[in-house]
């Protein structure tokens, strides 16, 4: 009975979406007609926004569990961090000119039109008419300019150095002039990568100041900030005047709950509706619970790296040792134990969600093999025929169980180590320093990096010599990378990029494990009932289900 109504609703919804999409397209063609810049333009791949007509009043309380403590700093786009966590709060309170949406990686939001000069020295935006902040004040190009000029977060120096001046044409039109060609501008200005595109209300920020804004921010996003307890909980309320649609849930409560078991308990007792990061020991229970649903939410690929491998005294200096490590890992069984078989054994360490990544499913790169006999055989040819003791196995926080499983696999071929269960920030600090973060050359790192910006971005962080977080530094790769950076030919770039990926995997500099499902568990109060919740996970490259205004929950009783 319930199932049939569920399908009916789903059909109705799809029809509605199709209608809206068509309407949006028509509007876009109309809006995009008046050009701002003179001269030749780059053809931009920015999708049109879908404006959805009112669907009645927001209802119900939607309670989300973040898997670590909350930082009020996340509410301030001017101090945007590099990690993707912060976008959750951007998507709630703020809005960007362009941002990733289900329609595409770049989608018009506050802007309805954008242009980029072919010489990459000018970029222009036209804002939607009638935009407002939560306090009713209009959102104008002055706020866009002010935000750009006062931005201090990720990539701030690049934006500042490249800028010549900002020209406010009128309340809705703004042009950025750059000193030199700024090729990455549209990628970086996009809400996924930095905070500079998320518009902060100048008048309010100047009035309340930095602390005041973090304590009680306002923006132009779908949810108004209500209150917070630093680190513990943030409460948001639907802003019915949001331009794209009326938010579906009346109230959103985000709690910071580190403990997996506590999040699960919260779901089971009905104190939570959505919990992130529910793999490992809690997943079987999520799956077994008839009241709970879950989405696989594939993000990036687990892999092992060997910081300091290139020092001659490192046991991992020998390619065959790294190969033995790879051969020793029973990935099939690991996937079964850690993710109940949901994850996919994968042959590349870069996420297949990245447009330019080699596929690791056996087509571009082979599926990694599990063969203990062969591992022992390979190891027998090295300096360590019976294995050896390395220092620390450092897993990405908090996947310590998974780390211990891999550690146990390695013990089977005689490679023994201890697990270092760092806290998240400590882990990031060590990774951020690359090889320098792990002195001693005897460490294995179990990492995962859901980074936007394509395979190139990930390689640029970990696998080139110049990066602060560099783990791999090989002349062979360096040569290809230099060519890649110099090249203006997209095909050649793609070829070089893939050649580097191939070397990294074939030389076992990076040992891929499996494509990770960052499973989210969802409670019974989230609509639609039964299946259909996957639609909340349409935004590309997003570990979290943005945007929030679409989430529907049952009305509070």
């Amino acid at each position: 009975m319930t199932r049939r109504t569920g399908i009916k609703e789903l059909l109705a919804l799809i029809a509605a979406l199709a209608l809206v999409a068509a309407a949006g397209e028509a509007a876009a063609q109309k809006g995009g007609q008046t050009p701002i810049l003179s001269g030749p333009l780059v053809k931009l791949d920015i999708k049109e926004a879908q404006i959805e007509t009112a669907k009645g009043k927001p209802k119900g309380t939607f309670r989300i569990a973040q898997h670590f403590a909350l930082d009020p700093g996340w509410l301030d786009p001017l101090e945007h961090i590099f990690a993707l966590t912060m976008q959750t709060y951007d998507y709630l309170v703020h809005d960007a000119l362009i941002k990733p949406m289900p329609q595409g990686e770049a989608t018009y939001s506050l802007a309805e039109h954008a242009e980029l000069a072919a010489d990459f020295r000018r970029a222009a935006f036209r804002l939607r008419p009638g935009l407002k902040f939560h306090d009713g004040q209009p959102l104008s190009t002055a706020d866009v300019k002010w935000t750009y000029e006062n931005y201090k977060g990720a990539h701030a120096k690049l934006f500042r150095d490249k800028l010549e001046h900002i020209q406010i044409v009128d309340d809705r039109t703004i042009v950025f002039h750059f000193k030199e060609p700024f090729l990455e501008f549209m990628d970086l200005y996009n809400g996924a990568v930095s905070g500079i595109g998320w518009i902060v209300p100048k008048h309010y920020y100047e009035k309340v100041g930095r602390d005041g804004f973090k304590a009680k921010p306002i923006g132009a996003g779908p949810y108004k900030f209500v209150s917070q307890q630093a680190g513990v909980q943030m409460d948001f309320e639907a802003w019915e005047e949001y331009w794209r649609r009326t938010p579906a849930a009346k109230t959103i409560v985000v709690k910071g709950i580190r403990d997996n078991a506590a999040r699960l308990a919260g779901l089971q007792t009905g104190e939570l509706d959505l919990a992130f990061g529910m793999t490992g020991k809690v997943l079987p229970q999520v799956m077994a619970d008839k009241n709970l649903r879950w989405v696989p939410n594939f993000t990036s690929v687990w892999h092992l790296a060997f910081p300091g491998y290139n020092e001659p005294d490192s046991p991992f200096h020998d390619k065959r040792v790294r190969q033995a490590v790879s051969l020793a890992i029973n990935r099939e069984f690991l996937v079964r134990q850690e993710t109940q078989g949901v994850g996919k054994v994968w042959g590349n360490w870069i996420s297949p969600e990245n447009r330019d990544a080699l596929k690791g499913d056996g087509k571009d790169l082979p599926l990694p093999e599990h063969n203990i006999a062969k591992a022992k055989q390979v190891l027998a040819q090295t300096k360590f025929p019976n294995g050896f003791e390395f220092e620390w196995f450092v897993p990405f926080v908090p996947y310590f169980d998974m780390g211990e499983r891999i550690l146990t696999d390695l013990r089977a071929v005689g490679i023994r180590g201890k697990l270092q269960s760092l806290e998240g920030p400590a882990f990031r600090a060590k990774m951020g320093q690359g090889r320098k973060g792990f002195p001693g050359n005897r460490t294995i790192v179990q990492n995962i990096d859901p980074r936007p910006g394509g395979a190139k971005a990930t390689i640029g962080v970990y696998a080139v010599c110049g990066s602060p977080a560099s783990i791999v530094c090989e002349p062979q790769i360096e040569e290809l990378w230099t060519k890649h950076e110099a090249s203006k030919n997209l095909d050649e770039r793609d070829r070089l990029n893939k050649a580097i990926q191939k070397i990294l995997v074939e030389e076992y500099y990076m040992v891929p494990i499996y494509w990770n499902p960052f499973v989210h568990a969802i409670g019974p109060r989230v609509l639609p009932e039964g299946k259909g919740i996957e639609r909340y996970y349409d935004t590309l490259h997003a570990p979290y289900p943005w945007p929030w205004e679409v989430w529907e929950v049952r009305a509070d009783r």
Partner: protein, 315 residues
């Protein structure tokens, strides 16, 4: 001289007193002693007694693999229940953990960690604290002022907080925990020992030694330290229990003994989720072990306190 010699009654009293002092053997509390003995034996003889490795999974039979995963072969079978459940076997009497490792063997090796860490940590703390307390009490003046002000400040730091702080400086590891325990607990000793020494300093045997020109170090070594040992012993026995709990708490919070070593606190932390799935034994057994060890340490400590402090005989 003849008038002096031959006080037979007095000399006879010697052996009576000596005999009396052995009667304490009968007062030893048996239950905690038994518990401690069992735990110590388990710890010492773990390599001999433990049925399986504490770090590697138990090799499963094809039948077990088939039953659990529907596979002909598997590296391990996780979460086997204890023997009294229908799926349990006597090969792994208390079941296996999430990595198919034998719980009983891990508990036995865990006893090693708990005992070694708690005992050595408390020992070091006792050594540092006693020394500083003696110095403060005996040397007086600015020694006393400095040591006691630092002790006071140290005592205001909550021990677990301090331990967490230190462990984030030193990183995880068994010997780091020992160091942490030593650095956290010394202040309890120095406080008590100083008080004791202040009283001892006025005792005549100490003044006698001073008058005789015995060096300060020697007075500390021969007169003061032996005479504060009662207090130190009592404190020691009471602190061991706390040290076990601190080690377990640190490991529970993930800043203690690093995996895969089986610290009881760590085992509880790792199996918190299993607890919620009804697999209570994985977290409850280590919890019981901790409780047993601390309980018996406290009971022995109490008994020792009563033994060594006559004022408390009837408490």
């Amino acid at each position: 001289m003849a008038t002096i010699l031959g006080r037979a009654t007095e000399i006879g009293g010697v052996s009576r007193a000596a005999r009396r002092s052995y009667s304490w053997v009968r007062e030893i509390p048996l239950v905690p002693l038994l518990l401690v003995t069992v735990l110590v034996l388990a710890a010492v003889l773990a390599p001999v007694l433990a049925p399986h490795s504490h770090l590697d999974p138990v090799k499963p039979t094809p039948g077990q693999c088939q039953a659990k995963y529907g596979m002909a072969d598997c590296p391990y079978v996780d979460n086997m229940p204890p023997f009294w459940f229908s799926q349990g076997t006597f090969a792994t009497p208390l079941g296996t953990d999430y990595l198919g490792r034998d719980l009983l063997s891990r508990l036995m090796y865990g006893a090693r960690i708990s005992l070694v860490v708690a005992l050595t940590g408390t020992l070091f703390a006792g050594a540092i604290g006693t020394l500083l307390g003696v110095l403060a009490g005996y040397m007086g003046k600015w020694w006393d002022q400095i040591i006691m002000r630092v002790t006071d400040a140290w005592l205001t730091l909550p021990s677990l907080v301090f331990a967490i702080l230190l462990s984030s400086v030193r990183g995880p590891g068994v010997w780091n925990i020992v160091l942490i325990l030593a650095l956290v607990f010394w202040s309890r000793y120095s406080r008590a020992v100083r008080g004791e020494v202040l009283a001892l300093r006025e005792r005549e045997f100490v003044r006698l030694a001073e008058i005789n020109g015995v060096g300060k170090l020697k007075i500390i070594r021969r007169h003061l330290i032996p005479n504060v040992m009662n207090t130190v012993m009592v404190l020691f026995s009471l602190q061991v229990g706390v040290a076990v709990i601190i080690e377990a708490s640190l490991s529970f919070l993930g800043v203690g003994v690093p995996p895969p070593e089986p610290s009881w606190g760590l085992m509880m932390a790792q199996e918190r989720e299993s607890l919620m799935q009804g697999k209570w034994w994985l977290a409850v057994f280590p919890g019981i072990c901790i409780t047993m060890l601390v309980l018996s340490a406290n009971m022995l400590g109490d008994w020792l306190r009563v033994r060594l402090d006559p004022q408390l005989r009837n408490r």
